[in-house]
Every structure is written in C-alpha cells, then in structure tokens.
C-alpha cells in the first residue's frame, strides 16, 4: 500500500482548465488517503514541470504518482520515464485522462466536468495506492529468422538479415524461387526483366552461408512464441538428383505423357508433370509435380537424374522471429465478368503479359492477329458490389507499361484504356504521358457505369459512356480485351491460420498500425512484408521487406527479449483446468500443465498480451491480470461511486 502519493493536475494551457476547475479538483483530492502532495501545473509535459516532478519524487520519497492530463496514448510513456528518472518503478505511475474524457467531452457543462474530473482522479489515486513495482519479463531468443516466401520481398529480407548476422531459413512453397516477379518480362521504370531481378537476388542469397533455402517446403506446425518459435517444415522432394544434363531433361519432358495447365503462364499454355518454368530458372534443377505424375516411368528411361526414391522430409527449426512474405494471388474473374471465360478473346492482364512474352513478330491470340486492344481497368479492385474495396495500386502503371511494350514490339497496335481514373502515381507518371503521346486512347467512366462487352457477328465490342466525351456512348471493335485484374490475398491462408496472424478488412495480413507500426503484427515476433500485407509494387515491397527484416532482427539481436509484465497469472490452487481460458484466449497463451498431481492452466508470458479476455470466463476466479487486479478495479469503482 503506497502512502506517499504525488498528484499533478494539468491545465493543458486552457484545454482542461477552461472547462474544469483544476484548483477545485486539487482541493477535492488533497485530503485523500495516501495523498502526500497535490499540485496544479500549466503544462505537465513541459521540461520544467518534468524536472519538478523528478525533484518531488526524489526529495519527498514519493512512492506513487498520478498525472491528470491528456490521453495516456499521448503522454503515458512520458511520465513513466519521469518516474524511472527519479528512481521510481514505472508501474507506480498511473495516468488519469481529464482532457479527452472530460474537458473536451463536456465543454458545455463546467460544473459537471469538474465533478467528473474529481471522480476520475480519485479513482486513479485508488489504483496507484495498490500499484506494485513490476519488472519486465525476460525471454531468451534464438538468433535466427524464418522468412516465408522466396519472392522478391522474401529474398531481399533474407539477404538483409543474413548481412546483419542472423541465421536465415528461407522457406519457399514452390520448387522455384522468384514468386510473381519471375513471371514478368520488362519491369516498369527500370526496364530490367523480372528474371534479371530474380537472378540478382538469388545469386546474392546463395552467397550468404547463413541463408538456408528450402524449396517445395511448407510450415505445417508451430510451437513456441516470440524469441523461440519451433516450426516444423515439410519438404517435398523434386525427384531429381543434383546433376541433370540438358539433353536428357529435354527428352524426359518430351516423353512425359501428362499435360496440365501451366500456372506459371496463368493457364494459357500447358506443361508436363516434369517441368521447369523457364530455362535457367533457380534453383536450376527441374522438378516432378507428383500431384499429377502417373508414375508411368517413361522419364526414368531417358533421364538418369530422375530419382523416385526420394521421400518427403520433415524438419524442425528453431527461430526467434518469423517474417511472412507470402505474396498475393492475381484476381481471377468469375465466369461472365466482362465476358471472361465466355468470349474467347477476353483475357487477364497477367495472361496478356505472358502472351506478349510468347509472341515475337506479330501479336497472335487464338490464331488471329491482334491490332485493337481494349483494357478494362479495376477488374476485381475498387468493387462496388464485392469484397475488394481496395485499389490494387500496381495495375494502372503495369497496364500502361504493358500497352507501351505491345505497341513498340508489334506494328499497328491501338490501345484503348477503359479506366476509372488513372493512378500512375509517383515516378510512373512518365509512362502515362508516353502512352498518351504514342496515341493510346483513354476512356473513362464511374464505377456504377462500367464498360460493357458485347460479342456479335464474330467481333467483340467494348462500349462505354465516356466521361471525357460528355458521356457520349462510344464503342471500340476490339481484337483482344484485357481485364486489368488486381491483387487479392493468397487463397491458401494455411500459414496465416497456423500463426494466427489477423487479417484486415481486405483480407490481407494486418499490421498493428498502418503508419506507426507498419510491419509488425499483433502476434509478437511475426512480421509481414510485400504484397502479403496488401497490394504493393516491387519498390514498395522492397521497402516493407527491409523494414520487416530490421524489425525481426531487432527482436533477436540481443539474444534476450524484455516483455511487458502486465499479463495474466494463474492462481495454481484455485485453478481446476477446465480449458475455458484457453478457448477465450485469442493468442493461444495458455498451456495445460500438471502440477502437484493436478492439471492446471499456465500462462506463456511471451505470448500473453494482457488483454483480459480470459478473466471473466474463469469459473473459479483463478485468473488475475498483473497491474490491473480485481482489487485494483474494485477500489477504482469504489472511488467512482462512493455511495454504492
């Protein structure tokens, strides 16, 4: 029980004192039990006021401090630091909010506001009376990071972490690295190809001894928490020995009788069960897709490197942090959206990019030469009726860049952009300009008046009421309609479910705070990067990858983690394991242990966030929240309603 409490009531210039009679508040609490010192101050946060508080605490040997001022979001940490400077444990400082909750909210009622302020300060004093000195929970951490996804973001983060001195496990689900970027040729602005970018990153990754790359690998289990994740990785074999001659491989692919749609080309072509996406792809070893392989054995006869004896491996890896860079899926329009899947010459932008890749002199689609190309923007993004309310950000730039590429590569191409406002932000604006100067035609409408696709007499038409032509109805006879599809969250969210990473409104992984904590998740130790977090272009993915790498590294660097002590605790004698707390906990912070012959719940300190969800469900009242115990709360209620 603290007996020497100092209370400071802040004017906040006039923000508080214009509506709350601060002197009256001071007088009202002056005589309260344990209050040794009560002062008003013009600005509690000012340097001089802070110095005064430090002096008061040290000279008067105060054992508890209250500052009644603004929201704790603004200055809780400021005054906790004041306490620490004066040698007082920072949990013996308690903050009272009489600005946002009182003066600003009740500017119409000064008398009432003052009364409310008195009650709030009294309740805070009641809490500080019971406050105890707390020390942070220390946890040892493993100096290793698991990076999930070896696309551009994952590889960049892996390089950065390895350079900083961490052990890195780079885990890629596919058999080849590079993710989406490897599927693209010329990239916007730099005019490098996706393959060149991937090659550079891959070579750099391989240079680092401390990076271990797994391909065909997935995390299937996770135990542990920040500092000490224990993850189980399933590694699917490629069924290839390390050396494989090019000629033999060619033959093996030739003889393979299985043909499946090639996801790498967005299903516009077919591939065999033995495959690599393109020559000189990394790792430079083909793979057999066992889901589709019939084990006919024909390939074995022509290629010595094939080895069907390889089996799935399971590895357990210990890491201190997990960095998710699992990327996105392109939006797949449902059958019939702008004629997709119904009209032959309606394809998506990713497909179109692959079509350009495979056509050298003339642009041919379905055997016919393409001259007029209509691009329909915002397909699967900024939906009026649908879940994808967001802008996919990359598509305007990418489409315009692709349109220019097509125009320069083939003769006589005409591009028609059916857009809803062009968003080639930042440096990409120059492409918009170039495309326009090359004669591309832009037609615009609002979301409630989208373009209409019609197919009549063997010809496809795109119609629009064009905003830029005074809403005149216009139509284009298009040889090819390209649906500019946006980015969507990965359909397979197994890793997100496994780690309990929350998703935002748009179903991408969610950060804690989009501006202030943009790469951390509420799951301690799990950071996010790249398009797994939301639509991003390559530049933005790199930024977030480097930020996430730095954040992950900061968690594991010192080998020890200091965590907030304000977490739940279990009263071992009262607890009769019923599992209700475990069900209520959003972070899986409980484990079942046996102690003195009975089963009880135990809180994992590095997982618990002190949210308090478990407390009300406990039937034996065996749970308490350190720093906000039942005694604390009850004493505060008593102070707020003295006559109850």
């Amino acid at each position: 029980m603290n007996k020497k409490i100092g209370v400071y009531i802040c004017h906040c210039g006039g923000n508080i004192s214009d509506y709350v009679d601060v002197e009256k508040v001071r007088k009202a609490i002056e005589g309260d039990d344990g209050v040794f010192l009560a002062k008003t101050t013009m600005f509690a946060c000012a340097d001089s006021s802070q110095k005064q508080m430090v002096e008061d605490i040290t000279d008067q040997k105060l054992d508890g401090v209250v500052v009644a001022s603004c929201s704790p979001k603004l200055h809780l940490l400021t005054f906790r630091a004041v306490a620490e400077r004066a040698g007082l444990n920072k949990y013996n400082y308690v903050h009272a909010n009489i600005r946002e909750q009182v003066s600003w909210a009740h500017s119409d009622n000064k008398v009432g506001a003052t009364e409310k302020a008195i009650k709030i300060v009294k309740a805070t004093i009641a809490k500080v009376r019971n406050a105890e000195a707390l020390e942070p929970v220390k946890v040892k951490s493993t100096k290793a990071v698991a990076v999930i996804g070896a696309g551009v973001a994952g590889m960049r983060a892996a390089i950065e972490l390895a350079e900083a001195g961490a052990e890195v496990f780079l885990i890629e689900r596919e058999f080849f690295v590079g993710g989406r970027v490897s599927q693209w040729d010329d990239l916007c602005i730099t005019d490098e190809t996706g393959k060149e970018l991937i090659t550079r990153l891959y070579n750099e990754v391989m240079k680092h001894q401390h990076v271990t790359l797994f391909t065909g690998a997935e995390i299937i289990e996770n135990n542990g928490s920040v500092g000490n994740f224990e993850i189980k990785v399933k590694v699917t074999p490629r069924y290839f020995k390390l050396q494989c001659s090019g000629d033999e491989l060619k033959k093996a692919i030739e003889v393979c009788p299985v043909e499946v749609p090639d996801g790498f080309n967005f299903n516009i072509t077919k591939r065999k069960a033995i495959y690599h996406n393109y020559p000189s792809e990394y790792p430079q070893l083909p793979a057999i897709d066992m889901k589709n392989c019939t084990r006919c054995g024909k390939c074995e006869e022509v290629c010595k490197a094939i080895d069907f004896s390889q089996t799935t491996e399971y590895l357990t890896i210990k890491v201190g942090s997990i960095l998710l860079a699992t990327g996105f899926d392109p939006y797949e329009p449902p059958k019939g959206e702008f004629g997709y899947g119904e009209i032959d010459n309606v394809i998506t932008l990713p497909q179109f990019k692959r079509v350009i890749h495979y056509n050298d002199d003339k642009l041919i689609w379905q055997g016919k030469e393409v001259k007029n190309i209509a691009y329909i923007y915002c397909v699967g993004s900024r939906q009026l009726n649908g879940d994808n309310k967001y802008c996919s950000r990359y598509c305007c730039t990418s489409t315009i860049h692709t349109a220019i590429t097509a125009k320069k590569k083939y003769k006589g191409i005409h591009n028609f952009h059916f857009n809803r406002g062009i968003r080639t932000y930042g440096k990409a604006e120059v492409w918009y300009d170039e495309s326009s100067r090359l004669g591309d035609i832009y037609l615009q409408s609002f979301e409630h008046d989208p373009p209409i696709i019609e197919h009549r007499n063997g010809q496809t038409f795109v119609k629009i009421k064009d905003l830029l032509t005074a809403n005149k109805e216009l139509e284009v006879a298009a040889d090819l309609v390209v649906l500019v599809t946006g980015m969507t969250p990965r359909q397979d969210n197994s890793i997100g479910n496994l780690l309990k990473v929350p998703k935002g409104r748009d179903k991408f992984f969610n950060e804690i705070h989009m501006k202030l904590r943009p790469v951390e998740t509420v799951i301690d130790g799990v950071t996010i990067a790249g398009a797994s977090q939301g639509p991003k272009n390559i530049m933005e993915s790199m930024n977030s990858a480097l930020a996430a790498a730095t954040k992950s590294f900061s968690l594991i660097n010192s080998g020890e983690l200091a965590l907030e002590p304000t977490i739940a605790e279990v009263d071992d004698t009262a607890c009769e394991w019923c599992g209700k707390c475990d069900e209520a906990c959003p972070y899986s912070a409980f484990e079942k242990i046996e102690k003195d012959g009975k089963l009880i719940a135990k809180v994992i300190p590095s997982v618990c966030k002190g949210c308090g969800m478990c407390l009300p469900v406990c039937p034996t009242n065996a749970l308490n929240l350190i720093g906000l115990t039942d005694v604390d709360v009850e004493s505060m209620i008593d102070a707020l309603i003295p006559n109850a």
Binding site: S436, I441, L468, A470
Partner: protein
C-alpha cells in the same frame, strides 16, 4: 453509338501540324475560348472527336467554322497540343469532305499534286500564248472571256454543289430540323458575315488584323467586279482605272503583310503554315501585283512590246481560278459564311 477509329488522327495529320495525342483533357482550351458556353465545350469537343476519330460527328458539326483562330487555346495549352491548329486542320479536312470532286483532299494532302497542277496550268497558258503567236489582242480577248467563263463554271459546277453538299451533311443528314422561314430570317447573317467577318472581332487579340482582312475581302471582291464586269484592262474611264489601281494595291499590300507574318510566325494564326496557306496568300499577292503592273504597262504603253507580262498575269489568274478558288483555301470564304448562316438558322429554331 459512335465507333472509335484510331486511324483518323493519322489521316487528319496530313491536313496540319498538331499533336492531339498530347491532350490530357485538362480543359484549359475550353476555359479560355470565347466561343465556349455551357452546352458546347469549344474547342475541346472537336479535339476529343478527332482523337476518337468520330468522323460523322465532326462532319455534322459547324463548330470548326465558327472558330476564327485567335490562337488563345494553343497559347494556353500546357501540353502544346496546338488545339487551334487542330481546328484549322479540321476546316481543311471538312473542305475536302464537302468537295464532291475529291480534288480538294488530293491537293491538301499532296504537295506534289498541287505543284503539278500549277505547272500544268502554267504550261497550258504558255502553250495558248504560243498558239496565238504571242499577239496581245487575241490573248487578252480570250483572257477576259476566260474570266467570265471561269466564274460561271466554278460557281455552277463546284462551289454551288459543294455548298449544297455542306448543307446536306451539316443540316439534313445530321437531323437538324429548320423551317423555311428560319432560313429566310437568317439570311442577313449570311450577308453580314460574308462581307465583314464580324465574328473575328470576338477574337480580341488583334483588331488590326481583322481590319486588314476586311479591306482585303472588299478589295478582292471589288477588283473581281472591276476586271470582269467593268473591264478594267480595256476601259477608258479614269475613275475605273484608279479604282482598279487602288483595289489591286490593297490586295498586294495586305497580302504582303500576311506573308511577312507567316514568315515571322509572330501571331498564333501565322505560326503554322500549311502549303495551302502559302499558295493562298502568295497567289493573292501575285494577283494584285501582276494586275497592277499589267494596267501600269497599258497606261505607259509598253504592254504591246511586253506581252509576257500579260501572260504572267494570266497564268496567275488561271491557277487561282481553277485551283485555289474551287479546291483550295479560297472556299473558306463561303463555308465560314454559310456555317454562320446555318448556325443562326439552328439558333432561330431554338
């Protein structure tokens, strides 16, 4: 429903130098244009139609003729798309479209064709002179007959059908309904605009230019009358002789100034010169000058010994009357006036 035709700008570019692709629809041209109002966004609508290749809409429109090329839009355009010159190009293109013979389009698009036509006609005149053994009297006699014949022929077979064609395209085919009385009531507008180009006064950049143009038109029309009907080259009337001198002097002095501006490119209107613009001002200049000198030669009695002077005058005249008047820039005199007239008719019909 209008079908977009991306090839159209390539076609239109043969009629003038502009860069419609640079347009990013900012609307600055409309904001500065005095012709713009709430219903009609001048000149942006025509620019957009041109970019989209909406030929039918452009043909049906009178807008290009309502513009007198003050050039404000081109000066203001942040992308240097030169909307003023685009409007000028549309006028050339429309002239080609109205012309039932198709020769206008050929001459506008092909400099070679134009020069060939000039050379052929010059050759024919010289051949005719040689045929008459370069005797002044018969040559002058037939020269005068030619003038009268040319006026009748060009008007009856080229200009009149083309005006009717223009009326058909802009009024009838595009579905604009107008009563006879409206056509009658608006007649005044036709006369006023034909002889005064009143609307150009709306372009407040250069009133002096309007004045020059105004006296040029009057000078040209009255010289036409003086030579053809008052037979200037044969008359004895001192009044008519002096009148002719004044008229021809006005023509070559004003056109000289126009040529000077086109060389200096110091005004928006003189910045871009299509070959048809050069032909028009230079030939008009030569018409005035050769007529002046020819009459001077008569008055000082040396034309008999200098028949070549009359031959030169006749060459210029023939080229003017058979190329520039029916198929060249001269027609803007008619189309502009009739466009103003039709525009007024539509206004009257509300």
């Amino acid at each position: 429903m209008a079908r977009i035709n991306p090839e159209f700008t390539d076609e239109l570019k043969k009629y003038g130098v502009f860069d419609a692709n640079a347009c990013y629809n900012c609307g600055n041209c409309t904001a500065v244009c005095t012709l713009s109002d709430e219903e009609n966004s001048f000149p942006r609508k025509m620019i957009r139609y041109s970019v989209l290749g909406l030929e039918n809409e452009i043909q049906a429109s009178l807008d290009p003729w309502l513009c007198y090329y003050c050039g404000e839009c081109s000066t203001t355009c942040p992308r240097e798309a030169d909307p003023g010159e685009l409007m000028m190009s549309l006028r050339r293109w429309l002239t080609a479209k109205y012309d039932w013979t198709g020769l206008s389009g050929l001459l506008y698009k092909s400099l070679t064709a134009s020069i060939s036509a000039f050379v052929v006609l010059a050759g024919l005149v010289i051949w005719f002179g040689a045929y008459e053994q370069f005797k002044l009297e018969p040559i002058m006699h037939y020269g005068h007959l030619f003038e009268m014949f040319a006026i009748g022929f060009v008007f009856t077979f080229i200009l009149l059908p083309n005006i009717i064609h223009m009326w058909w395209i802009t009024m009838v085919k595009s579905g604009k309904k107008a009563s006879l009385s409206a056509y009658f009531k608006a007649l005044g507008e036709l006369i006023v605009h034909m002889f005064t180009q009143k609307r150009a006064l709306g372009c407040d950049d250069n009133q002096f230019r309007w004045f020059e143009h105004f006296i040029l038109v009057l000078g040209y029309l009255s010289l036409l009358f003086t030579t053809v009907f008052l037979d200037w080259f044969s008359t004895q009337s001192i009044f008519i002789i002096i009148l002719g001198y004044v008229e021809s002097a006005i023509i070559f002095v004003v056109t000289f100034d126009f040529v000077r501006h086109r060389i200096k490119k110091d005004q928006a209107i003189s910045k871009n010169s299509h070959p048809s613009d050069w032909f028009f001002v230079i030939w008009l200049f030569m018409m005035g000058l050769t007529a002046f000198i020819t009459r001077l030669f008569i008055d000082i009695n040396i034309l008999d010994t200098n028949v070549w002077m009359y031959i030169v005058q006749l060459i210029v005249l023939v080229q003017w009357a058979l190329i520039i008047v029916p198929f060249g820039k001269w027609t803007h005199f008619l189309y502009r006036s009739f466009a103003m007239y039709f525009h007024r008719v539509i206004e009257l019909e509300g």
